[in-house]
């Protein structure tokens, strides 16, 4: 991914100043939209019970939608937004704690069609 990014930056370097300005504005607008979406999803009132249930449903929906992509990974979610990912609970918990989320939803994603052991 970083190689791809390097290539894009190199390509962007060949643009004219006007084109660079257009590209910069476009990217900034896209980032702003993602941030707004994140704020909007976060603003679902956890203080209301309906909001809490809705947020929990979004967590489950996110896992269902991304099972193959994140199989085996631990993920931290806030509504339908991925906040952090990693190979273990402590790794993800630390990442989330640094962001300042007090009570994160963290889970390990099982691969679709996997069979887990249910105990004896």
């Amino acid at each position: 991914m970083s190689k791809r990014l390097d290539e894009l930056i190199e390509e962007a370097g060949k643009l004219s100043m006007v084109e660079k300005q257009v590209l910069a504005n476009h990217l900034l607008e896209e980032v702003k939209q993602v941030e707004d979406l994140f704020k909007q999803k976060n603003s679902i009132a956890i203080t209301t019970k309906e909001g809490e249930v809705q947020r929990r449903k979004q967590h489950i929906q996110w896992v269902k939608d991304h099972q193959a992509e994140y199989a085996g990974k631990y993920v931290a979610l806030n509504g339908y937004c991925l906040v952090a990912e990693g190979d273990s609970y402590p790794e993800v918990y630390e990442a989330v704690r640094k962001i300042g989320i007090e009570k994160p939803f963290i889970t390990q994603v099982f691969a679709p069609d996997s069979v887990v052991f249910g105990g004896w």
Binding site: I60, K103, G119
Partner: protein, 136 residues
């Protein structure tokens, strides 16, 4: 070489019950149910009877479908985001509710519970020691 661990809480469990049985609660919004669950370090996840999910107002089949294997066969369960509470420790976790209402076990397994606590068991004394991973 010796190793030392410290824990915040301890619980004496009932040796007359099958397995290591502990009191927990499951919570969703305003609904909270209290039940006994068995700690099972071999279980991949936390699995509960269907009726408990329904008591919490959950549409069981809307969850994450998951096939679960036991020594006696394979069954389907559905994952939901629920708060597991035990000895003042609360975690928002994915817990699985069995699709079949004949499944009559309640298990605290790895994902959702064991992966976020520090646990020691001295079965000789029927004593369990517990801390949240996050507080140490």
């Amino acid at each position: 070489m010796s190793y030392h661990l410290s824990f915040s809480k301890t619980l004496v469990y009932d040796s007359k019950k099958k397995g290591i049985t502990v009191p927990i609660s499951l919570k969703l919004a305003e609904q909270q149910i209290f039940l006994d669950a068995k700690i099972d370090t071999g279980a991949s996840c936390c699995i509960f009877e269907r009726r408990y999910g329904e008591d919490l107002g959950i549409d069981i089949e809307s969850g994450i479908p998951q096939r679960v294997e036991t020594a006696t066969g394979i069954f389907t369960a559905y994952g939901h985001d629920v708060t597991i509470s035990m000895m003042d420790y609360e975690f928002d976790s994915t817990v699985y509710f069995a699709a079949q209402d004949t499944f009559a076990r309640n298990v605290l397994g790895r994902v959702g519970w064991l992966d976020r606590v520090k646990l020691a068991i001295i079965d000789y004394d029927c004593k369990l020691y517990l801390s949240s991973y996050n507080e140490m």
